[in-house]
Amino acid sequence: MELRGLSKRFGALDVIRDVSFLLEEGARCALIGPNGAGKTTLINLISGRLAPTSGEIRIGGRNVTAMAEAARVKAGIGRTFQITNLFRRLTVGENVALAVAEHAGVAGRLRPAPRMRARVDARVSEVLATLRLEDERNRRVDVLPYGVQRMVELAIALALEPAVLLLDEPAAGVPADDVAVIFAAIEKLPASMAVLLIEHDIDIVFRFASRVAVLVAGRILVEGTPAEIREHAQVRALYLGESGHA
């Protein structure tokens, strides 16, 4: 995925300024930055939720800037939401099934087909297994604890088998046990998948990322390996502070 000169302005406010960025196949990149830097806005621009004021977004060389959100998903983008955005009255299985069916291109079929249904269900089982959610399959999302909901959030994105996966603080506010499950699943992601992770917890960033980009006030301040970033004076002053947590 490549971003070229991406900018977003709301009224008089420049939220994203001239961001250019390259995410290679198989990348494991973390996006960090202080609150309000525009990280979620950037994700929204990439996924198509927001239209940029200027700039380009390319997936696999294809210019997707003019494409609507749904079309970009078909082009290979998958994302999770910082604020859990699930189908609350549906069960976990149904949530994931929607994504599986959509990805398989069979979601528009007008007649029930039991064999295809079985294939979808099998794939749902696979996805749920990676996040140890099989037991929750038939439970409604709105009765689940927050940590489990965040896992369902990730499951939906995984079901899309995207080429580029955007994770918006997947483990924020989640109990430690569930965090471990979430990151175990992230570690097992296909090597060809490019992953951009927004995260505040520095330990996670260092464990997961081979590259880190720092977004401050809508601009990319610096990019580099985790070690380089840790040593970078400005970043230390601005962001890492004393405790190493944001």
Partner: protein, 315 residues
């Protein structure tokens, strides 16, 4: 899953048995069947897509007029008339859907109202074609499939309408149980998330809308053929509201809502029209308020909850 199949079968069985149980009420039964088909089509839009519209009468009315005019001027063969009615309504569904489905909530409701009013005005003004305010008269239908002539007792009418409803239910069932139907529910529950998983939301909704329109049009065509008359108020906002109320009474988005709501509403209306016509609006208004605050899922939800308590099983 098998509970659903059983209930589906029960619905069809009820349609078949009704005339045997209440032979004196065939006309009422036919009316119930026709509005149930219309309510079923509305369930697709309101219950499964989650789009509230007050314009469904436009499709019913267009279907009725198309079938009626077809019978008067082209051919009085009923089955062809059904196709014509369905197609005309589907066309309106395509045209109005293109505008309506770009908005939601209040704007969608307003546009749906505008659609009914536009169609109603047009029908009113094109008196030479539609009979205007007097309605479309003088229709005389040929025997169904060349074999079953409409009789004075309304037997053929009932069976004809009931078969069409049964077929309509099979189509509805198929849609609702398919991946398409599931994705409609997804759109209803969280449209934004559906876009984020790559669903072409607008296209899906348009397809559902057109199918629902066609089904309502077929219901309208049935009405025109069975009554051999089309009244202008088939195209009224009042009628749209009635269908919506019937659906809510039964429960929207719960598969059987139309089949529970239509008979209860029509029977209630029939009874009150005879006993206490002046206060019809009062009773219905109070009923609606009661449903909203005490039983928003309608009869289906209420019966379902009852069954759960009795049987301890999920429906």
């Amino acid at each position: 899953m098998t509970a659903t199949r059983l209930l589906d079968g029960l619905v069809i069985a009820a349609l078949a048995i009704a005339p045997v149980l209440a032979p004196a009420y065939l006309d009422l039964g036919t009316r119930i069947v026709i509005v149930a088909l219309c309510a079923l089509s509305l369930d697709l839009v309101v219950g499964y897509c989650g789009l509230v519209t007050l314009g469904h009468a436009a499709f019913f009315g267009v279907g009725a007029y198309a079938a009626g005019i077809f019978a008067l001027r082209a051919s009085a063969e009923p089955l062809a008339g059904l196709l014509v009615g369905g197609a005309a309504a589907a066309l309106l569904g395509v045209l109005s859907g293109a505008v309506l489905l770009r908005s939601r909530r209040l704007t969608l409701i307003m546009l749906s109202l505008a659609t009914v009013l536009v169609v109603q005005e047009t029908a009113n003004k094109l008196g030479w074609l539609t009979g205007g305010a007097d309605g479309l008269q003088g229709i005389s239908m040929a025997p169904v499939a060349g074999l079953f002539a409409f009789d004075l007792f309304g037997r053929v009418s009932y069976v004809y309408a009931a078969v069409v409803l049964a077929l309509g239910f099979l189509v509805f069932r198929s849609l609702v149980d398919s991946n398409f139907g599931r994705s409609l529910v997804g759109i209803r529950e969280n449209e934004a998330r559906m876009r984020a998983i790559g669903t072409p939301v607008d296209a899906r909704l348009r397809v559902a809308f057109v199918i629902a329109a066609a089904m309502a049009g077929v219901a309208g065509a049935l009405q025109a053929q069975v009554a051999e008359f089309v009244a202008l108020n088939a195209l009224s906002v009042d009628f749209s509201s009635e269908i919506l109320i019937m659906l809510i009474l039964g429960g929207a988005g719960r598969r059987y809502g139309a089949f529970l709501g239509a008979p209860v509403y029509v029977v209630m209306q029939d009874y009150l029209a005879r006993e206490d016509p002046a206060n019809w609006y009062l009773w219905i208004g109070l009923l609606l308020l009661a449903i909203v605050f005490f039983a928003p899922g309608g009869l289906t939800a209420w019966i379902g909850a009852l069954a759960q308590r009795v049987g301890g099983k999920r429906l």
